[in-house]
Amino acid sequence: MMRIIAIAKRVLKELLRDKRTLALIFIAPLVILALLSYIFNVNTTTNATIGAVNVEQTLRTTLDDTSKINVKTYGDNESAKRALADEKVDAIIRNTDGDLYVTYANTDVGKTNVTKAALQGALTKNKMTQLAKAVKTMQEKLPTGRQVIQSSTSSPTIHNSYNYGDGDSTFFDKMMPIMIGFFIFLFVFLISGMALLKERTSGTLDRLLATPVKRSDIVFAYLISYGIVAIVQTLLIVGFSVTLLHVEVAGSIWLVTVTTVLIALVALSFGIFISTFAKSEFQMIQFMPIVVIPQLFFSGLIPLSAMGTWAQWLASILPLKYGASALNTVILKGGNFDNILGNLLALVVFIVILSVGNIIGLKRYRKV
């Protein structure tokens, strides 16, 4: 036990003196999160301008009244097309013999979708107005006193309420829990893998193993020291997100910390495990596209239920999926310990298997 603490202390001391690595662990995630938050918040409103050619007055007015939509009228198709090419309009609606032909610039899928929805909405609205008129005419022809239909034409008011966040919630809010998990995984993976790699290439690992230290002491010491790093990192990231980026944590921050510490420990064991296959720091980096990036794809950023069975199976062997799912449950849904217990256990299983693998793996450098 004394040796475990001594090694853990040494690992932390080395880390604290390495200012650049410290910045990478503690500052870089905050910078990236702040940038992400800015990017996703700035892009929340998509406006579209539609060029109308030969389109009847009523439809044009209804479209123009739709929020986020502007309508410009063009005399002929040629000038409208020129406007489209010059990016003055995002779509052209042309009426030929009663049918509508729509050409989209489609350089921004968001604008295309807004235009489509607006057009559909406007057509429906116009139809409804005509229908209402027709009904009114019919009613006038009916004997007085029979007003059954009247009441049903008034539409109900919609009252929105949000389980998490409010009407202004952006994609960033949804991404946030996964991003916290991902950054902790990424940076701990890199730094811990490098740390053990350095011990190996510099010969300190050999020297360490030439003392009566147990192989498990080394692995446990690394788990303890990087566990502490992860706690600090989590509190920093969550604190920063809550106070400055105004992200809401519906559940307990301590559950978030427990989850991220487990994520960090998985990343650590993973990093140490992978580092045994790398001969240099550069080779360690080469593992990132294979080991780290896919975890982000299958972490729930894109809903897993929509994916094929092979993808779901793949996700189930990637530890970040469980971590991200637990973080989602706590941060978005305010889940309690029982709700995330299964995910936490999955992370523990990863830690145990990888740690046992690492302890056995050290046998390469000393046979007992």
Binding site: S202, L209, R366
Partner: protein, 240 residues
């Protein structure tokens, strides 16, 4: 009769198909300084790794303190200095010494005294507060040696201990090694420096994984009819 500290009996080691050590036999007695010499790739480091238990012999027996290696507990009593400096660069010299003293299981009460002693031997006392990254090559070598000396182990295994150390300090280090020998402790040392090989009690000459000589430097020179270990070395290599 003096005790046998290290004993290799028909030790064989293969890496894959390549035989790096063919039936090595030699003993190191208590209080002896034994030099392992030979060109690089001859199997010196392999012998050291087997004695330390980092590698396991494919055949034969490797005994240290009458116990079969590999054995973790025994490492308590072995001081090892590798070819690489193997130091933590961002820690100070003192922190490096303290850390390895803890790893060796030296009692807290005596750690400071131990550090003081070993750093005096290698003349690093005034540099202990500096970070190792600021050390010169020679200073790193000395610190590495100091770590091996920690805890007064009964067996010292030194892999090229005096590479990059200036002659004055080299002599001083050898004085300390004799000192250790007189205290009844044992030293196994590999070296390229032939003048150093002549300072040992016995030389084990390795060539292509085979021990071709195991005698005192003087006897060795007589056998080969030359007047330096260096000449023995060249002659033995030439005869192959």
């Amino acid at each position: 009769m003096r005790k046998t500290i290290v004993s290799l009996n028909n030790v064989q080691k293969k890496f894959g198909d390549q035989v790096v050590l063919k039936e090595a036999n030699f003993n190191v007695q208590q209080g002896e300084i034994v030099g392992l010499i030979g060109p690089s790739g001859a199997g010196k480091s392999t012998i050291i790794k087997i004695v330390l238990g980092m590698e396991k012999a494919n055949a034969g027996k490797a005994l240290v303190f009458d116990t079969q290696m590999p054995n973790r507990e025994l490492l308590n009593n072995i001081g090892y200095m590798a070819q690489a400096d193997a130091l933590y660069d961002v820690l100070t010299g003192y922190e490096n010494l303290y850390f390895f003293a803890q790893m060796k299981g030296i009692k807290k009460a005596v750690i400071k005294k131990e550090i003081q002693h070993v750093s005096q031997v290698v003349e690093l006392t005034e540099h202990l507060a500096k970070k190792v990254s600021g050390y010169s090559g020679g200073m790193k070598r000395r610190l590495s040696l100091a770590i091996a000396l920690l805890g007064e182990p009964d067996l010292l295994i030194l892999d090229e201990p005096t590479v990059g150390i200036d002659p004055g300090l080299k002599r001083k280090i050898w004085q300390e090694l004799y000192h250790i020998k007189e205290a009844g402790r044992t030293i196994l040392v590999t070296t390229h420096a032939m003048d150093e090989a002549e300072l040992t009690d016995r030389v084990v000459l390795l060539l292509d994984g085979e021990i071709i000589a195991d005698e005192s430097p003087r006897e060795l020179m007589k056998d080969y009819q030359v007047n330096s270990v260096e000449a023995v070395f060249l002659k033995a290599e030439g005869e192959r």
